[in-house]
Each structure stands twice: as C-alpha cells, then as structure tokens.
Amino acid sequence: MLAVKNITKKFSGVTALNNVSLVLNAGEVTAIIGENGAGKSTLMKILSGVYPDYEGTISFKDQVVRFSNPKEAQEKGITIIHQELNLVPFLTVTENIFLGREILTRWGTLDKKAMAAKTKTLLDRLRLTISPDTMVYALKVGQQQVVEIAKALLLESDLIIMDEPTSAISESEVDVLFSIIEDLRKEGKAIAYISHKLDELFKIADRYIIMRDGQVIEDGRMNGTDHDGIISKMVGRSVNMVRKADGIGNSETILAVRGLNLQHRIKEQGLRLKDISFTVNRGEIVGVFGLMGAGRTELLETVFGLHPNLCSGSLTVNGNALAFKSPCAAIAAGLALVPEDRKKDGLMLGLNVRKNISITTLEALSNMGFLDNKKECSLSGKYIDELRIKSSSDRQLAGTLSGGNQQKIVLAKWLATNPVLLMLDEPTRGIDINAKNEIYKLILKLAAAGLGIIMVSSELPEILAVSDRVLVMAEGCLTASLPINEATEDRILKCAIPKTI
C-alpha cells in the first residue's frame, strides 16, 4: 500500500529522521513503536502532508507522491488521527465531523438532515450514545476522541494513522475501537498504529516497526516476539517495571473526605459526585480507578477547590478542617494537583523551564518583593537534577520538551511547595515507557518520604503496580476500597462497570 524509501528530515541542523525505509501493507495493522523523540511523530507528519519538505521518496498505491499539505494527503486517502484533538469546541458533533466536506442540498444550502443521519450512524458504529447536536465543548476528552475517529471514518481513507488513540479513552471504548480497527483491516485498509501501551499492540497489531533515534531498528511480526523483546529494542537495554512491596503499616491520616457531593453545572443533570468518603494516610499511595465519566478527575478537582460553589461535604487535612474553596487555600494547606492535561492546565508552554518550576513558590523566592534570581535558579537546578529533566538549559521553553520531561516539570513545581498530599491525574498519559518508570519510581520515593499520594489512572497495570490501596469509582460513586493484596483486575473492573443503563 505504502512504501517509504530513504527518508531523511532535518530541523535546523538536528536530524529527526535518518534514512528511514519502511512498508505498510493493505489489510494489516502495523504498530509503530518507539520512545518519545524516536521520530514516530515526524514520520507520521511527513506521511500526512504536514511536513512537505524532506529527502527521500514516498510511494502510495504504486504512485510516487509528495503531499504539500494535509488536505492533499486526505484526498489521496491518508488520514491521521492526532493525539491532540482537532475539533472546534463551539460547533456540534455533526458540524465538526462534516467540517470542510458538508453535504449540500441541490439548492446549495446545508443538508442538515442528511448530515445528522450520517453522524448518527457513525456514532452508533462507535457505540457513542450522544446526540449529534451536542456541542463538542460539552463532551469529555474521551468522547471527543471518538468524534475525531468518526471524522476519519467518514473519509473512508485507505491508510489511517492513529497516534495514541487510546491514551484518553476508557476500556470499553478501547474495545469498541479495536472492533472497528478489525473491521477496517478486513476491508483491506492499512493502519499505522502508534501507541506506548504494549498490551494493546499485542491484541491488535499484525506487524511492528521499532524506531529509535530517528532510525528504523527492526520490523517483524507481532506473534514472533514478546514484551521484553520489544522493550529492550526500544530502549537499547532492558528495563524492569517497578513493583512495590505490599502494604504499609497504620500511620496517621493526612486527608479525610466525608460525604462529598458535587452538583452538575446544570442542576437538572443531577450529581457528578455522590456521597464520597475516603482517607489517605501518610506515606500511602491510593490508586483511583474508574471508567470514563466515573468522576475521577472531578473528585481531584473538587478536593483542590476548583468547584467551590457546587459541592458539599467536609474535608480535613492533617486534622484541620478545610473548605473546598480555592486552589490557593488548598495549596496553603499542603495539597498539590498534577492535572490530567498538562498542556492545557499544567504548564505555561511559552515560559521556560525555570519559570514554570518556580511559579508556585515565587513569594518564597523573593526578598522585599523582588525575585531573587539566585534562589530561583538553584530551585530549578535542584529539581532538574533530582528529577533528571532533560533540557538544554533551564531557559528552554517548556513547550519544546518531550511529554515525559514536561510532566516532570509539573511535578517539580508542586514538589517545590513541600506538599503533604500529592494528587496525580493520569500522571503517565502519553509519555514513553522509560519516563513512565522514572515517574513510578519517583512516586514510590515520595511516598516513602511520607507524602500521601492519590493517583488517578485508567491503566489497570499501573494502578496495580504502584498503589497500596485501590479506590474504584463508577458514575460518581465510590464503589470499592480494596487493599492491594485483595485487588485483582477482575475485581476492580467489576466494581468499575456502571450498574445502571
């Protein structure tokens, strides 16, 4: 279907792709594997016409092609579904799906009926039960991603590139996605599938191509290899997943939440969190698992004071009562929140590493109202060393770093506040396996130093690897609190699946 020959791409002197050649076949799912910075994204951007400027040749359907923009690539039959969503928030689902390729009536006006009907079929196929007239901004990240996939399905492309399609969607949506990919494969389409989640690659992919440092290291059939084999080729050495020794002794309670309710912004839609009570002890890692829409993110946000007028219940930190009032109050009490979407909520991408790290503690870094440059540099230097943040200097812009390093910056800025409780929302989303392991190790180290930690994650292996106790949520309720030695994948999933419908 598609053959790439000797492609080299340089960015102002830095080689991102070095003499890459590969083939994607019709009727096959090919996994593109590699750490962040291995060159996967650059390659995909060349294939989809984002970068028209490269050395080497691409032939697609036995024809040499060179796309000058994404639209041209789409018309020829190559679509990319980006990890970062490309939707217009204030348009409806239908309007987004048909953006730029609207169906017209014979009078030249929009044929809304036809578009809504087609959207409905697409959404049904993806098993997404929302109205086609819903505004996109009102959807959760996972639902938006499904809309994005629907948009690509409409194009009926021959080559579909999926960049981390499951990074933000729930397990049930993953199953749906996989059955769709299965259908597409049977229809004879070629699919390039980029993911860090090796488990799902073994489920869905036929072939793999491993990239490292801008080169193709190896390709082969999925059923001829295993986890460890792939990981060692990705990183050039073997890594071990961290695994925690069981349980911790009884220690004092850091955080206690009692009877927490959170109302929907629109009252009629009921409660987003219902009567939630739990505690976190010193040195304890509490994993929170739940499917999409279970209310995990809302739980952290409410505790952090982001929904002051919509919630009720009580909260104590180290025995002192705290109102769910504002992030400032939460921070003063020793709470810290590493948000789910680090680009949207975690970082000032246009500011440098140093300024991002110091932003939470500027007052402490000042003398008589003026910033102390030395103190600020030594603070950022300390965390760059401690967390091994890879940047050319502390003056590099945060937006130019890889996902793993960005996440470390967000962690650094919170560690600088000396928190007693660290809340992590999907801390390893979209970062490579090495950086993931580093973050797990860091979490364990922080817990050992006495911090209480809440880690929300939609990856069960991650929850099981790191937590001392697992809280399971479904539809805004807490459905289970399991010590790690009683928590099994089966049991957790059973509690996470909504009972209504």
Binding site: S12, G13, F304, L306, P327, C328, A330, I331, A332, L337, P339, K344, D345, G346, L347, M348, L349, G350, L351, K355, S358, I359, T360, L362, E363, S366, G369, F370, L371, K413
Partner: protein, 326 residues
C-alpha cells in the same frame, strides 16, 4: 559551530528588528531634513511621546494578561479635567457652606486616585462578572467621556497657574519633566515585569490562565491590579497633557488608546498575551513618535501621516508573525 551561529544570525537580528527599523527611519529622515537631527528636536520628540509612553506602558501590562484596555483615552481626559477643576475651583458645597481647596499636589494625587479607581472598576467587571475586557473597557470609555463632559460642561478648564504648568513644560537637570516622569514609569514597570512575583504572574496568566489558576495564582487579584495600574498611568498622562496645554480639554485623549495599542504591537507584544516587554513598547512608542515628527518636518499632509502610520503597524506585526513562526 560556524554553521550554527550562521543559522542563528537571522534570529539574533530579529530580536533587534524594531531597533534596526528605528535606526533606518532616523537615517532616512535626517537625510531628507536638516532639522531632524538636532538636540532641540530630540527633546521635542521625547516630550511628545511621553504621554503615549505612560499610557502604553499600562497597556502593555494589560495586553500581557491577554486583555485590552480601550478606556485609557477617556480616563486620561476625565482625570486631567478633574485635576484641573479641583485645582482651579476646588469643591464647593453651598448647602453645607463648605469649600475645599486643592493644592497642586493634592489635585494631582486626586486625579491619579480617580484613574486608579476607574481602572480598578474595569478589572472588577472583567473578573467578577466575566465581561470580556474589550466590552468592559469600551463601556468605561463611553462612561468616562460622558463624565468628562458633565464635569467640564463641555468647556475647557484653563488658567491653572505656573506651578502646575511645570509638570508638562518644565525642565529638570536639563531634561523636560514629562520625559523624567515617563522614564521613571518605564523603569518601575520594567522592574515590575522582570523582578517581581506580580510581573511573573502577569506573564503566566497571559501564557496559560488555566495552568496559572491551578498553580494557586490569584488571577482576579492580578488582573485587577493590572487594570488599576493602567488607569493610574492614563491619569498621569492626562495630568501631563493638561499641564502642557495649561488647559483641560473635554475632548482630550480621543483615540489615544489606539496609539497605545499601536506602540504595544509594534514593540512586539502579542495581543494573545504572555509574550512581550515594556522596553519593546517604549521602542514602539519612539518609532511612532519619530515617524510623526519626521512626517511633519517633511511637510507631509496629516492625512498621509495616518496612512503611513497604519502601514507601519501592519508591517511590524507581519514581520513579528513571520519571526515567531520560526
């Protein structure tokens, strides 16, 4: 290494693009007119732009937070008029048989306090009621102009005395007083943005408001401070204008907000916030000032002056866009 520095050369140059533009502007004008490159004309230009520098410094802070302040021209007029009115007539309350007189210092402070309050009001409606800055400050633009007309009854307030005139026309250590004032303001604002937590918060909010909020920054407080500062600086501009003319004109400051925005934009500050600098704005204001001055010296019609100014703004922004894409 050689290749690297060469590849970086255009980027290095881009940093100084406004400075280079200013240099060539001066070069061309001085070739065409022998009156341009004189000490007297230099002070003249600086004195003329001092008011715009006051206003555009405040505007820069506002724009860095991804906001905009359209009310500064009217606030300038109102504060100038109130300062003049208080100085000349004081406050008379015939019913209470009370008369309050104002010294020069007292009336100036009153004007600045009024400007601060108006700016604070901008910030209040923007943060408390989530009114978009464009609309909130547009409303205050109209309100403040109306209040100016009410206060002055539509007539200039003139004859303010030589002490007050010193603010706009005096010299201190061989430098015009308005130039001193604007220089001090620029210095303070530069320190604010570079050396204080508040300055950093201003950049952070413009860069990513959501992340700033989650970092525990009191967004509303920072925004209110910024609009209040912008209001105070507009008031200072109003006092300078009034003093220089020895008269508060009810229609003073009309379209000054546009000159301020132009200086900010030419100085390389992004209207979407988070990127830019006070010194850039100063350069922007100087470029506009030199351009105005040069076109006058060259006897270009005032109508053409406006056309040229507009084109310069466009070119500046286009070049800036091209550079930031890199």
């Amino acid at each position: 290494m050689q290749a690297l520095t060469l590849a970086n050369a255009p980027k290095q140059l881009a940093k100084f693009q406004s400075l280079i533009a200013l240099f060539f502007l001066c070069l061309v004008i001085s070739l065409l007119s022998d009156k341009f490159l004189t000490v007297a004309n230099g002070w003249n230009v600086l004195r003329q732009i001092s008011v715009n520098i006051c206003i555009s410094t405040g505007m820069t802070l506002v724009v860095l937070t991804a906001g905009i302040d359209l009310s500064v021209g009217s606030v300038l007029a109102l504060c100038g008029a109130v300062t003049a009115g208080l100085l000349k007539n004081g406050i008379e309350l015939p019913s209470a048989n009370l008369f309050i007189g104002f010294t020069v210092f007292g009336s100036i402070i009153s004007g600045i306090v009024l400007g601060t309050l108006l700016g604070w009001f901008n910030g209040f409606t923007i943060t408390r009621f989530k009114v978009p800055p464009f609309v909130a400050t547009l409303a205050v633009l109209t309100i403040a102009r109306g209040l100016t007309m009410l206060w002055t009854k539509g007539f200039p307030i003139s004859g303010l005395g030589s002490n007050f005139a010193y603010v706009g026309t005096g010299w201190l250590l061989g430098i015009p007083v308005p130039v001193w004032i604007s220089a001090v303001i620029v210095l303070l604002a530069h320190m604010l943005t570079r050396k204080t937590p508040l300055g950093r918060y201003i950049y952070a909010i413009g860069g990513n408001e959501s992340a700033a909020r989650l970092s525990g920054i009191r967004i509303n407080r920072v925004k209110m401070s910024v609009y209040a500062i912008a209001g105070a600086l507009a008031a200072i501009g109003g006092i300078i204008v009034t003093s220089r003319l020895d008269s508060a004109q009810p229609n003073a400051g009309i379209t000054y907000e546009l000159d301020a925005i132009a200086a900010v934009v030419i100085g390389g500050t992004s209207l979407s916030g988070g990127r830019g600098s006070i010194l850039g704005t100063v350069l922007g204001a100087i470029i506009i000032g030199v351009l105005n001055n040069g076109l006058v010296l060259l006897n270009v019609s005032p109508f053409w002056q406006q056309v040229v100014k507009g084109l310069v703004i466009l070119v500046a922004v286009i070049i800036d866009k091209a550079n930031s894409k890199e």
